[in-house]
């Protein structure tokens, strides 16, 4: 089995991106201004009582474009350069600092993980305005950090003992790295015309109650300096073209279809023909789902197709392997004591590799060279042959896991915590997908069930990770087909997939050889971070299907005007 992993890594390396430094940190004015102010401030701040023992600046200068089209017209078109700075101050000592999660508080994520963020003027001329803004943001961050540290001290003295007594912080290694990417040019006029054309396809379809066609692009740089001496400049870039369609049944069930293309260059965008065909196809699927029978609650053998399996991997397993959350005494600790234990069938391995930029020609949204705490990214094996090996770690250690494995991630205005990058589940035994469907029918017959279910798409849902809640998950199944023993398929609507965390992965019987990528943006305590999930289709001996909620909203009395026009 180890051999398999090795081979897979060779494949990974072949597709991976190993960007070389192509600039010098000494030539980057923002880095120089930030470093100089860091040096000047830290000299004083480390002598305060209580001291600031670690300080970092993250400055992002990003050109953003967004375009949204509905019903043949532009709803939103925006172009701006966003230049913002976030300051993280750690007060106290690595043993105990201001970031420790309080036992006796129920603060919002924003209160608990929010960082002061300053809108920045350009770093031009004498740099005074820029430096003054850095100084102001630092003052604000340190004031809050000192205040938070007093609260942490009081909480520690008056609360029950902590299960995990490891330190609150481990210093990241010192790094210097400079990578600049030229700004990728997208022909916005062409994209606008393309989206207008695609949007026109929804006209005259009375069941499409709402639709939107979107393009967004970010291109810029992230600058990071800290009191350890790290200086980094790395590119921030991605673009997404997406569309969504919405409909509703008379009994109040809302149905949505969504498709996104994540790219780095314009050449990777779908052609006009491809996009229009995809829109037509999704319109057709929407219509089919709206007239499909309701799926009653049932437990049956099922296949999660590759995209659905990617979401399942992310929601059901990935979030529970995030180290920062595991340190919380209020968390469910599902996997805390399971390092070295079998948690899924032995033919399965799970890794997270943020250093991977592409997979089978698809750009991965979870790619980064250094994480948001300045640690160089590398692949991490989380589960090997079914045995739990590692957690996703940032610079907050856990007992037995004293170092970051470069998964400290967060949006600019939030303190980074351990999050997924590019998570992937691999199977050492695979069959062609058609064979997996045959195996599904065999399982249906074996269990005497009326049919099996094939889930093409899973979307948003939630998984409880707090100890006070049931250890369960529930995910919206957007596109589901029944597969009957005679081989015919029938779409159904209104289903959710739910179940228990520990049982879910052990119900996997086999996998197909059709790995696919699901890129997305994941929201959690450290905000929204781009992320990718890779999985093949998998066969489950049983999954629980529940009913999706309905809306009390009545269907519109009149058809959309576009349908009226075509009459």
């Amino acid at each position: 089995m180890k051999k398999l992993i090795l081979i897979l890594w060779v494949v990974f390396l072949a597709f991976g991106s190993f960007a070389q430094q192509n600039c010098s940190v000494a030539d980057e004015k923002p880095l120089q201004l930030l470093s100089a102010e860091m040096k000047r401030s830290f000299k004083t701040l480390k002598k305060l009582k209580p001291p600031v023992y670690y300080l970092s600046y993250t400055y992002k200068e990003i050109f953003r474009t967004s375009l949204e089209i509905h019903d043949g017209g532009i709803v939103w078109k925006d172009q701006q350069t966003d230049a913002r700075l976030a300051v993280l101050a750690r007060v106290g000592s690595p043993k105990m600092d201001n970031t420790r999660k309080l036992k006796k508080a129920d603060a919002s994520w924003n209160e608990e993980y929010g960082l002061p963020v300053a809108q920045m003027p350009k770093a031009d001329h004498d740099g005074l305005s820029f430096t003054r803004a850095v100084w102001r943001a630092t003052q604000k961050a340190v004031e809050k950090a000192q205040q938070d540290f007093s609260t942490v001290q009081a909480d520690a003295q008056t609360s029950s003992d902590r299960r995990d007594t490891s330190d609150d912080f481990v210093f990241p290694p010192r790094s210097a790295f400079c990578h600049t990417e030229s700004v990728e040019q997208f022909d916005l006029q062409r994209i606008e015309q393309l989206l207008l054309k695609a949007s026109a396809l929804t006209q005259g379809k009375p069941f499409v109650l709402d639709s939107s066609f979107l393009f967004s692009m970010q291109n810029g740089s992230r600058y990071f300096v800290d009191s350890v001496g790290t200086q980094l400049k790395t590119p921030v870039r991605f673009a997404r073209l997406a569309f969504q369609l919405a409909g509703q049944t008379a009994d109040g069930q809302s149905v949505e279809r969504f498709k996104a293309y994540d790219v780095l260059t314009e050449a990777e965008l779908p052609s006009e023909q491809e996009l229009l065909a995809a829109v037509e196809n999704e319109i057709l699927i929407l219509q089919q789902i709206l007239s499909a029978p309701i799926q009653e609650p049932i437990a049956v053998p099922a296949i999660l197709k590759n995209r659905a399996m990617s979401v399942f991997l992310h929601e059901v397993l990935g979030h529970r392997l995030e180290g920062t959350a595991l340190k919380d005494d209020m968390s469910s600790e599902t996997f805390v004591q399971k390092i070295g234990q079998q948690i899924m069938p032995s033919f399965l391995t799970v890794i997270d590799d943020p250093s991977l930029a592409y997979f089978k020609g698809h750009p991965l949204r979870g790619f980064y060279e250094y994480d948001d705490e300045g640690v160089k990214s590398f692949p991490v094996t989380l589960v090997e042959n079914g045995v739990l090996k590692n957690f996703l770690m940032n610079s907050t250690p856990l007992e037995g896991m004293p170092r970051s494995n470069a998964h400290g991630r967060g949006e600019l205005s939030r303190r980074a915590v351990a999050r997924m990058g590019n998570i992937r589940i691999l199977s050492s035994q695979t069959v062609p997908y058609e064979e997996l469907e045959k195996q599904l029918l065999e399982e249906v017959n074996k269990q005497g069930k009326p049919y099996g279910l094939i889930v093409e798409d899973l979307s948003g849902g939630f998984t409880f990770s707090q100890a006070r809640m049931p250890q369960a998950f529930t995910l919206k199944a957007d596109l589901v087909y029944r597969l009957y023993p005679d081989g015919h398929k029938e779409p159904v609507r209104g289903a959710k997939v739910g179940g228990s965390i520990l049982e879910a992965f052990n119900a996997i019987l086999n996998a197909a050889d059709d790995e696919d990528v699901f890129n997305g943006v994941c929201g959690a305590e450290s905000g929204y971070v781009p992320q990718a999930n890779i999985a093949p289709s998998m066969l489950f001996s049983g999954l629980n299907f529940e009913k999706k909620e309905k809306t009390p909203e009545k269907l519109p009395l009149l058809p959309p005007p576009s349908a009226e026009v075509k009459k």
Binding site: R40, V75, T81, Q119, H125, S129, A133, Q139, P560, P561
Partner: protein
């Protein structure tokens, strides 16, 4: 080019169609309105009786912003269209509006913010979605209103609606007036660099953001209007620590009228004024408890007028609350016509047709209200007595007729509200005369000093003026004991001859509105010290 069309009598929508401006906005509104009237019907329920559409298109133009002499990056957004839909069922005697549920969802117009495509199809789609929702909401409220009236045996003789002559106003909507971007950049860069001259100023930010907006309205009674507005938002923000160690921010935000403002001069004046205030607040001493006369400078006086006049004058017709509660959203002036509500030192008017005042853009400009009735100038208070109030088509008492002040806001269907509130001194005094009068009253009360208030309510900026020699001294850390009271208006002793205008965008409770006010001398106000400790000193000296 401007055209004011006043049409007497009620015209069906079809008859008005020919006169509608020829553009996608009116075409989309008319087509969807026609379709809704013909086809929108929930079985066993009344059909729509009244529909009104209002579209507001905002076009941001390229502006400039800088801090301490350094520009911020550019930002440019596309036009944004907002659609507001009002639907009512019933008839003039009883319709589905003028009512609130009580503890349940707030009954308000259907707004579509930020997802309306700026195209014929996009607007139709948005109007369709919101009309449908508004109609269902209207039928539900109509039933509830009827049921409540039966339950309470309310047999009102007053109709819900008193018809009034419908009106239209069409102003050619010209292309946005661009402002030279290079000039704006140079200006904000130069003006914000002025902050460098004050060593303790931590931040000094100046921005100028031009924008253009277009408003289109059509209702089923045959009223319509369209007009465009061009304005520039001037913002100046400063932050610093006072000599006594308190963090302070002295800021301003003003809408300038693109057509009439001398932007560089007005921006320069505002920057100079803010920098003077900064220096004054920096030196400020701790204020002491005080009871006595105060001089409210126009900025502070505007706050008084909004709190104590514009809000009490709103909602002359109370809403019917289905939980039996009194309507707390209806202003206190509704029962005070003919009573003394203010001092006779000022006269108070509402002038909806004013577009700008001394280069300041007036957001209260309203040629026709949101019920489609031509707005009238109102004489609200003379000789201290309340003479009139804003009125909509919903009568508060027998004989009431609309004076064109039924205005939409995010939380209300058209409701009685002011537009441009104008305060004029009966015997206008110069600034010097006002200060002399203030000192005279202070001396008569044997006070050592009195107060001049520059700004309210968040960043109270005050000055003491000493009775002995008239010298002034900045003071900090004082607040009102009990905000303003109804008494404050009757306590106005004198008013200045020079007024300033202040505009605000529509908030949750009120539509776009403006106040034009001079400085006011108030007989008595009570100020108390703010209990606050100095802020922490900077850990590291400012670079």
């Amino acid at each position: 080019m401007k055209k004011l069309v006043l049409l007497l009598g009620l015209f069906p929508l079809q008859l008005m169609a020919a006169a509608l401006p020829d553009n996608i906005y009116f075409k989309a509104m008319k087509d969807e309105m026609d379709r809704s009237f013909k086809q929108l019907h929930l079985e066993k329920n009344p059909k729509p009786f009244y529909i009104a559409y209002r579209l507001e298109k905002t076009v941001p133009l390229r502006g400039a912003e800088a801090s301490l002499g350094e520009l911020f990056a550019d930002h440019l957004s596309s036009p944004e269209v907002t659609a507001v839909v009002t639907v009512s069922v019933g008839n003039n005697q009883q319709d589905s509006l003028g009512v609130q549920d009580g503890n349940q969802t707030w009954f308000m117009p259907q707004w579509n913010y930020g997802s309306v495509a700026d195209s014929y199809k996009g607007i139709r789609q948005a109007l369709w979605q919101k009309t449908d929702k508004a109609y269902l909401q209207a039928t539900e409220m109509y039933e509830k209103k009827n049921a409540y009236k039966r339950l309470k045996q309310l047999d009102e003789t007053l109709p819900d609606i008193v018809p009034a002559p419908v009106s239209s106003y069409v102003e050619e909507v010209a292309a946005p007036i661009g402002v030279d971007e290079t000039m704006l950049k140079e200006l904000v860069q130069r003006l914000s660099a002025e902050g460098k001259k004050i060593p303790y100023l931590e931040q000094f930010y100046v921005s100028l953001h031009p924008s253009h907006r277009e408003i289109y309205f059509l209702n089923s009674r045959g009223s319509f209007f369209q007009y465009g507005q061009d304005r520039i938002l001037l913002e100046v923000r400063s932050s610093f620590r006072t000599k006594r160690g308190y963090k302070r921010a002295v800021s301003t935000a003003r809408w300038l009228d693109t057509k009439t403002a001398d932007v560089p001069r007005q921006a320069e004046e505002e920057v100079t004024r803010i920098l003077q205030r900064v220096q004054s607040v920096y030196e400020a001493k701790q204020g002491q408890a005080y009871v006595g006369p105060v001089l409210l400078m126009p900025n502070a006086a505007a706050y008084l007028w909004v709190r104590m006049f514009a809000m009490p004058a709103m909602g002359a017709k109370p809403l019917l609350w289905l939980d039996g509660a009194d309507d707390k959203t209806s202003g206190q002036f509704k029962n005070k016509i003919g009573m003394r509500v203010a001092s006779n030192a000022v006269s108070i008017y509402d002038r909806p047709h004013l577009k700008a005042y001394n280069g300041t853009f007036l957001s209260g400009f309203t040629p026709v209200d949101d019920e489609g009735i031509a707005t009238e100038d109102l004489t609200l208070v003379t000789g201290g007595v309340l003479r009139d109030l804003p009125r909509s088509m919903r009568p508060a008492k027998k004989g009431d007729k609309s004076n064109g002040h039924g205005r939409l806001s995010p939380s209300y269907f058209p409701r009685e509200q002011l537009t441009n509130l104008v305060i004029e001194a009966v015997n206008p005094l110069s600034q010097q005369e006002l200060e002399d009068k203030l000192l005279e009253r202070c001396r008569s009360l044997e006070l050592e000093y009195c107060y001049i208030l520059h700004s309210l309510p968040t960043d109270n900026q005050l000055e003491r003026i000493y009775t002995q020699d008239g010298h002034k001294e900045p003071v900090d850390q004082l607040k009102f004991e009990t905000d303003f009271t109804a008494r404050s208006l009757r306590d106005i002793v004198a008013a200045g001859g020079t007024a300033q205008a202040f505009s605000s965008d529509a908030n949750r409770w009120m539509g776009d509105s403006s106040v034009i006010t001079p400085a006011l001398l108030i007989e008595e106000m009570e100020l108390v010290p703010v209990q606050a400790q100095p802020d922490k000193k900077p850990f590291v000296p400012m670079p």
